[in-house]
Symmetry: C2
DNA sequence: TTATTATATTGCAATATTACGATTAATAAT
DNA sequence: ATTATTAATCGTAATATTGCAATATAATAA
């Protein structure tokens, strides 16, 4: 089918997997790393930086924007993207909680 | 195409996205949460617990096993799965480093 | 107005993922 | 031996994702 049965899972489970899915492509990881590295808004040069065609980058940016991890503002003829740090923090809290599940468990095998 | 261009990204970027991709489905999130919750090997009942067909669960388990997050041992007619806590820890370190990128940055916008 | 520049959208082809019925393989129980 | 149980694999259908060429849009510049 190819259609995830979201309705049988909890909201939390869908939230966690939804965030993780966005991180599940190296181009989006690379874009986020670059935005953190330059630590400012970036207008343009992402296409050269990443090495994919402009429409492809645009699509990945859209997904990052949809999930709220980045935001863009119009700056003359170009658009400036940067990390939405507030959303990044809350996202980080959700994922961290999931990752730290192991801290409350014993070793069974 | 539908084919990710892994070769243009760093090994780290591919590693991060590879792990995240596994978390990118609610069934796999649910399986991991359940394994942590019962905090022991589990033989069977995952199919009833999650609510997907047996072959589907089996496929998700395979992906979790491929990336090393769980391990299974044969126990008579059934197979016992549990979290591979050592691998979980190293995976967590990789993802945490990525998530904590924001700690070294200023607020630009 | 007409370029120019930067980004988004559309349309499409190729590949990947999700899901499940049917089958298989392996052991356990009778 | 036969039958039941459990989980993997195979085959297949449906949907999603990735990537890019072509085109559209939007804002400035000439």
């Amino acid at each position: 089918m190819g259609l995830t049965k979201s309705e049988i899972f909890t909201e939390k489970q869908n939230e966690i997997s939804g965030i993780a899915k966005v991180f599940g492509h190296p181009a989006r990881v690379a874009i986020l790393q670059y935005l953190f590295k330059i630590d400012s808004c970036i207008c343009g040069d992402l296409v050269e930086e990443i090495g994919l065609a402009q429409p492809t980058i645009s699509q990945h940016l859209k997904e990052l924007k949809n999930v709220g991890l980045i935001k863009g503002s119009i700056e003359g003829t170009s658009i400036c993207y940067c990390i939405d740090k507030e959303n990044w923090s809350s996202m980080k809290a959700i994922i961290s909680e999931f990752l730290n599940q192991d801290l409350n468990t014993n070793n069974c095998c």
